[in-house]
Each structure stands twice: as C-alpha cells, then as structure tokens.
C-alpha cells in the first residue's frame, strides 16, 4: 500500500479545511457582491472535492481495512488528544457522499435562497457545516471527532432558526437541546473509556486495542458491566443523532421547518454521523458491550421501522412525511448494525449512502414543490404529472427508490439488512432476531404503502382547483444541475452495488470477524 506522499501529508486536512477557508474569505466580501460570494462558496467546495477525488483515485482499495492518508500530529497534548485523521473503507463512502451533496446544495441555492435571503450568511453556514461533516468522517481521535461532531450543530441551528418555516424557533432550539444532551453524555463516556484504557490516548485504534488486549498494555481488564455502561452513554449520543426511537421527536420538527437546503444536508449527511459513529466508535472500541446491547438496538430499530411507517401514514404534510420515513429508513440501518455481522454492517453502510441520496432528493423535490405551490399540504396538491411532468417523474423515481425497488439504490440498503438478521453474529439469539426480521419485512410493506399513497395523491390525478389555472414551471436548469448527479447515482448504485460493497467490505469483514470470534 503506497499513497501519494503529498496527499498523505496534506490531502485530508486540505479537503476538510478548504471550505472553512472559503468561509473566512467570504466574510471579507461585501454583502452586495452576491455573485462573487456564490462563486467563492461553490469554488471552495469544489476545491475540497477535487482533493477528495484525488484521494479516491489514489486510495488502495485492496487495503480498505487499513487507514490511509493518515496524519498523526500533536494537538492538545496535555489532555492526550492528537490530530489524527485517516480514511478507510468505512469513511470513504460517506466522505464521498458529503463531497457530492454540499456542492449540489450550493448549486441548488443559486436561485433558490430561502427568505430572508442573505446569501452571504447562508453560504458561510453551509461551508462551516461542510468542514464539520467532513472532519467527523475522517477524525480518528475521539476528541477531534467530538469537536467536529459538535461543529455541525451551530450552523444547522441557525439555518433552521433563521431561514426556516413558521415554527422555526421552536424546531431549532429543540434540535439543538436534544443533540447537545446526547453530546454531553457522549463526552462523559469518551472520558470514561479513556480512563478505563489507561488514560493515555484518545486514538480510536489504540483504545480498541487496549480494551481488547489489556494485558499487553499492563492494564487491568475493563469489567463488562463498565463497558456496557460506557456504551450506554455513546448510545444516547449517537442514538439521538440517528435518530432512533424514542429519541426521534426532534427530527420531524427540524426537517419540516428547515429550509430545503438544510433538510437535504440534514437527511443526506447529518443523520449519518450518528450511524457512522455507532460503527466507528461504539462498535469498534467496545465490541463486547455491543454484543450485550445488540438485542436492544435491534428492538429499537424495528420499533422505529414500524413507528416511522405508521407515522408517515398519518401525515398531511409532504415534508413531514418524508421526515418520518427517515426514522423508518434509519431503523433499517440500525437493524443491519445490530446483526453484528459483516453482511449486516455492509448493508448498513450502503443504506446510509442510499438513504442520503434518495431522501436528499425527496427533500429537494419537496422544496421545489413548495416553491411553486407555496404549500406542502398533500390534500391541496395533485396532478403534478400534468402540470410539471418532469418533476412528477422525478418524484416517482425517488419514491420507488425509497421504497426499495430492486434496481435502484434503496434496495441494497434495505433488503440485505433484513436478510442479515436471519443469522445474527456473535452468538446472538436467532429466534429474537428472526422475529425482528419478520417485523422489519412488514415495515417494507408499510413503506410501499405510504410512499405510493404519497405519489398517488400528489403526482397523479388532476390539479386541485386552486392551482388548476396557474402556470407551474417545470424543472429549472439549476435544479437539473443539482439533481442529475444524485439521480444517476441512485440508478448506478442500484444496478452495480459493488461500487460501495467493494470499498466497505474489507474493513467491515475485519469487524465482523471480531464479533464472530466473540460469539465462540
């Protein structure tokens, strides 16, 4: 394995911090220079993406289980925290997803700034968000990860609170308080794991080794009950972010009130921080505790699947419906994780990317519908296929992908996740997990139900009377530019899922083997 030297030294750091540098430059540009501001914003995300693409090209896929492009520099040495960043098969798909989604969101923003406009502030927040998201996916030190994980909070809070809908203030503070509560417990558990492992390092890889082989480091082994408690703290932090039932109540409000761009980023990337954290931090460092928690994670996951689906059926607002469908879809991801098998984990990571693309697209479409009809109330909509046929077909395509139609990306996240719990790893109870499997399968039927019903009520039929005579503009140029890459990827990943499985498999096989060994 040999990566390009320059990329190893600087690639990840430049990729993460270029958007932040762009944001600083934008602060100096006067507000009136809108065009320049947009160009700088797009330029800095594209520059960041260019480094990302260079690293994707240079990545040694045969050794996807090893961290590549690692930088390990001293940072806050008195608290033993180091600046460690690296890319492996688990981070790579999510970094790629982030690098794709943010520029598309900026392109979409080009002529879709939500009220009260102010493109300068809006785009600066998106860039800060971008840095936070990318940083979280490449950080390999718990404290560094925590800092990046929190950096995304503030921009999202302001994005919902300033550019959001009617109930924006309530939604933004709810989002903030919920996530911060999880973070507070999470940082305490990070510290607990740090001290349990000798109090010398926050590096994820080293912590995992120290917990697994304490004798090698002359440490007392960490009692299982302590591990289970620490895992519980992380569970709260990540579970709220995912969000898992019963910590999901912030999500529908945040999604419904956020501006389109905020919803897209929230659905496409932010929620993945939670599931990614589960695998990268909780499962990786505390595998034994994960085995103890797995049945409960699985239980909450299937409750989330059914609850989310039933919630969808009751919604009257299109955006709120998509938000509840996120709860259900993230349930599938968590179900795959709870199986503790290579197969299930692969499905989970695929599910994250697929959900990011599909639900991101659904929110884009919802935003454009709202812009044209000034409402998202399902019963006032209808006949989209007649008034804006292209947009109607795109909505149809996305709902099909979302309900898991084979041949589109959604299928490969959902189906293997259900299949994986048939044979859970690490000696978990087969009966229990097969019961979960049946419940999850019912969830897919419900998903088909609410999604098709949504499509039927909004796209089919004739336009409702109030909009019958209005001229509805079909998909704009900027919308095409922003949507086409996502639509193509949904199709490509559906036809050739190995594109992601090939990347994630080595690292997740190693993890699955750990759990397999624990089960014996």
């Amino acid at each position: 394995m040999h990566n390009n030297d320059f990329l190893t030294g600087w690639g990840l750091s430049l990729m993460v911090f270029l958007p932040l540098a762009g944001a600083l430059v934008m602060m100096l540009i006067p507000k009136a220079e809108e065009q320049l501001i947009k160009v700088v914003a797009l330029g800095s995300t594209l520059a960041s993406a260019a480094f990302g693409i260079a690293m994707l090209a240079d990545f040694d896929y045969g050794h996807g289980d090893q961290l590549q492009f690692v930088v390990n520099k001293s940072w806050i040495e008195v608290i033993s925290s180091r600046y460690i960043v690296g890319l492996d098969g688990l981070s790579l798909p999510l970094v790629a997803l982030t690098l794709l989604v943010t520029p598309l969101v900026i392109i979409y923003s080009w002529d879709h700034f939500p009220e009260p406009r102010n493109p300068k502030a809006f785009l600066i927040l998106i860039l800060v968000l971008h840095t936070g998201m990318l940083g979280s996916f490449v950080a390999q030190d718990l404290i560094l990860f925590f800092v990046f994980f929190e950096v995304v909070l503030l921009p999202m809070y302001f994005m919902i609170g300033v550019w959001g809908g009617e109930e924006r203030q309530y939604a933004s503070i709810k989002f903030f308080l919920y996530t911060l509560f999880g973070s507070a417990l999470m940082i305490v558990s990070f510290l607990a794991v740090f001290f349990a492992a000798g109090g010398e390092t926050f590096s994820m890889a080293e912590l995992a080794e120290r917990i697994a082989n304490p004798a090698q480091f002359h440490l007392a082994p960490v009692v299982l009950s302590t591990q289970v408690l620490i895992f519980g703290g992380m569970f709260m932090g990540f579970g709220i972010k995912v969000p898992m039932f019963p910590f999901h109540t912030w999500l529908p409000d945040a999604h419904t009130q956020a501006p389109t761009q905020g919803s897209v980023i929230l659905a496409a990337v932010l929620l993945k921080l939670g599931t990614y954290g589960f695998i990268r931090v909780a499962l990786f460092i505390l595998p034994e505790a994960a085995v103890e928690w797995a049945p409960w994670i699985g239980l909450l996951a299937v409750i989330g699947i059914i609850y989310g689906a039933l919630g969808c059926l009751a919604q009257t607002d299109m955006k709120r419906l998509i938000a509840f469908s996120s709860v259900a879809h993230m349930g599938f991801v968590m179900l795959g994780i709870s199986s503790l098998t290579t197969f299930g984990l692969n499905a989970a990571v695929f599910g994250m990317v697929a959900h990011g693309l599909i639900t991101g697209m659904l929110f884009f479409v919802a935003g454009s519908v709202k812009e044209r009809f000034h409402t998202l109330e399902i019963k006032r909509l209808g006949g989209l296929l007649l008034q804006a046929p292209k947009m109607g077909w795109i909505l149809g395509f996305c709902t099909m992908a979302s309900l898991g139609l084979p041949g589109l990306a959604g299928f490969w996240g959902e189906f293997p996740a259900i299949l994986s719990v048939y044979n859970p790893g690490a000696g978990l109870s087969e009966e229990l997990f097969r019961a979960y499997m049946v419940i999850a399968a019912i969830g897919t039927v419900l998903a088909a139900g609410y999604l098709l019903w949504l499509l039927q009520r909004t796209a089919f039929g004739t336009p409702s009377e109030e909009f019958a005579d209005e001229h509805i503009h079909d998909v704009h140029l900027t919308e095409w530019l922003a949507w086409a890459p996502m639509l193509v990827l949904i199709l490509v990943l559906g036809v050739y899922p190995n594109l992601i499985f090939h990347v994630t498999d080595p690292v997740l096989t190693a993890m699955g083997d750990t759990f397999q060994a624990l089960g014996k």
């Binding site: 608290i79 300033v162 305490v188 001290f195």
Partner: protein
Amino acid sequence: MLASLLQQGTPFLRPEVDFHALAPELVLTGAIVAVLLADLFTSESTRGIVPSVAGIGLLAALVPVLTLALDGADRAMFGGGYAVDNFALVLKAMFLLSGYVVVLLSTNYIAEGDYAEGEYYFLLLSSILGMTVMASARDLVSIFVALELLSIPAYMLAGWRKRDLHGNEAGVKYYLMGVFASAVMLYGMSLLYGLSGSTLLADIGASVAEGDGLGGTTPFITLGIVLVVVGFAFKVSAVPFHTWAPDTYEGAPTPITAFLSVLSKAAGFVALLQLILIAFVARDDVVEPLMWVLAAVTMTVGNLIALRQTNIVRMLAYSGVAQAGFMLAPLAVVGSNPVGAGRAVVTYLLIYAAMNLGAFAVVLAVARKTRSAEISSWGGLFEYAPGLTVLMTVFLFSLAGIPPLGGWLAKFVVFRALLQPDITAAGVVLAVVVGVNSVIALYYYANVANEMWMKPAPDGDVTPVRVPFSLAAALTISVVVTVAFGVSNLATRFGDLALFVPQ
C-alpha cells in the same frame, strides 16, 4: 531606656526583599500614582489620556511577569508567606490582561457618562493590585490584606452611578454582603490560627493533617475550614451566598459588572485554590462533600434562575453564578486528585475570563445604540450589526460549551478532573449534573441568539451600531483568545503550568 529594651530583644532583621519578584506589583503601584497625577494635571478636555495611562500601566506590569516567567525560578519571601511561582505568574498575567480589557471597556463608557474619570481608574488599578497580590499570598494575613485591597475599591466602583437608585443599591448591597463575608472568614481564620499557631498556609496544612493529634480539636478545625470556605463562597457568588450578585451586577456600571463577574470572581477562586490545595487538602472529608454540594447547588440554581431573566446583564449574572458552580466542581474530588482539580479550575478561569469579558463587551457596544439591557431590545441585531451578532454568538455558545469555542475545553477539563484517577460514584454523579446543567444553560444562551438572529428589530430602527476603537480592541482580544483557547492547547498548557511550589 528604649535602647536597653532593644538590646534585650532579638535583633530586628530586615526581611529579604526580592525586588524582581515584587516588580509587577511595584510597576502597578507606579501606574496608580501616574493615574492620579495625570488626573491632577490634565484639564477637562485632555482627560482622555487617563485611561491610556491606566492601560499602559497594566501592560507595563506584564513585562516583569514575563521576565519572571522566563527566569523560571520559583521565589518565596517572608518565610513562605509570599510566593512567586508558576501558579502566581499565570494568574497575575490573567488579572493584568483582563484588567486591560476592562480598561478598554470602560474608556468610552466612563468618558461619556458624567463620572469622575481619574478616581475611577485609580480604584480599578488598586483593586487589580490586590488581585496580583492575592495570586502570591500563601499566608492568612496576606490573603486577607489582598482580599480587602481588591474588595474595598470594588465596593466603591459598584456604586459609581451615584445618581441612580439601582446604582446605590448595588454599592450598598455589595458592601454589606462583602463585609459580612469578611467577618465570617476572619472568624474562621482566627480559629485556624489559634489551633495551628501559624498563619502560614503550609504550617496550617501540616497541623490540619495531624488532626486529632492536637487533642480533640478536630471539630474546631472543621468549623474553621467551613467558615473560611463560606466567606469565599460569597466572593465567588456560590449559591446560597449569591443573592447580592444580580442586583449588584445590574446596578453597577456595565464595565464594573464585567470586572466583578470575571476578575473579582477569579480572585476569590485563586484564594480558595490556595487555601484548599495547600492548607485544607488533608481534610478532604470536609472539603469534598462541602464542595460537591456547593457546586451542584450553585450550577443548578444559577441556571434555573437564569432561564427566567429578561435583562441580559442579570442573565449574565446568573449565568456567572452557574459557571462558578462548574468551576467549583473539580474541587469536589480534590482529595484524590489535588493537582488535576487545581489545573482544571485554573484552565476554566482563563477561558471564562476571555469569553465572559467578550460577552460584556458586546453588551456595552449594543447598549450604546439601544440604551437598554432588555433581551427583547436585541431583536434584529443580525440585520443592522452582523459583526456584533456573530461575536456575541461566539461568546454565548462558548459559555454554553459548544466546540470548537473555548468553553468546551473548560467543561472538558472539569469532566476529566471529575473522572480521574479512578471513577467514583460521587465523581460520575457530579459529572452527569454538570452535563445536564450544560444543556439547561444552552437554552438561555440560545435564547439571546434566537433574539438576535431570528426576531425583527423591536422599533424597526436599523441604523448601524458605531463601535468605538477601544471597544473594538476589547472585542478583538476576547474573540481571538476565546477561539484560540478552543482549538489549541494554550489554555490547558497554562492551566497545567499553574502549579504551586512544592511545599
């Protein structure tokens, strides 16, 4: 006759005075005189140089602090009663720099109000002098002298707006409460002196460690410790001794509110640290539960009352009470981890000084336009003063502890101290209390952000805010330090440097 008496007694020995060690205080004393003279010899129109003299004096006093730090040797004088070690130097530097920021905050406020400028800076510098002495005081008497030197000018400064009823209330309340606290503390000190026969903290520490060896005096030692701690609990506005703080903060001139809530509180913590870490640490059976309860109650009550405030200065006052609770928390595990607890408190103090002074600087700048401290008057700030809005947001969310702003590291070192070296039930429970309180605190900080970013201007007046140069300088210093402390190891470095001379 006098000559024969003198011959009988032991000859009087002049104590060794290390003038280099005293240089920061000497320079500051010189600055105080210079301020008085400048006031005397300037006319009304040229009085503007007085704050400059005060500011330059404070920065000049930093020079010997730096040379002492470069010299690196720990110095002790007067039998160990006055020490210049890394702990003292780090905190002296903090007092001087924060004092400089307070001068910057005061410049326009005092010049534009109908206030006596010369006396104001004279008192301010005197109080800061008391604080720099406090950082070195390792003896009950020098602690008390330092405390009075820093408090008495502060009583006068708190009542500076003498034509305002609230101003009078602020001064009188602060004075009465402060004197009461001093009396309680003195009684505790006299007990400790009576039992140990020495005013040196190190000697008291040794006697306290012996405990029952003194023959049934343990209860009196306990009483002495509790009374001294209670005295300083007033100073740091810990619940239930906080009742003066909101009224005083609201009535005092805003720069003095910043001064009281940052420097005066820090001085109280410095004294507490020295007393607990040197003298009381052997009696962790008294100190730990006392601090546990004080910390938990202070942060919870402070936060809950802060939730209901509509005036930003009062809100910051109660938030300062809650922050004091966070700073007290590490002292609840001082017995098992004295070094870690001390470092955590110092690190917290440094970060808190930067972010809280910054928040007050924005309050001052905004009040120049709105002439109000009501949170509702902050609506629409983002429209007409985006720069100030972003700065205030940085300070508020730093106070709330959101990475990557300084405050998160402060909370982090508290968590770390609480869980070190072994995880105890008391430590974990307090850590969870700190966690829950951080979330409660976020609500009222975010409430101000909400007002600035998401509400329209209340009277539709969107003329921009003019920020005078000195305020802009104060804001720049605060924001740079707040962010730098959050993303680098500076604060923890200084915090870890701040260790006492081994006794």
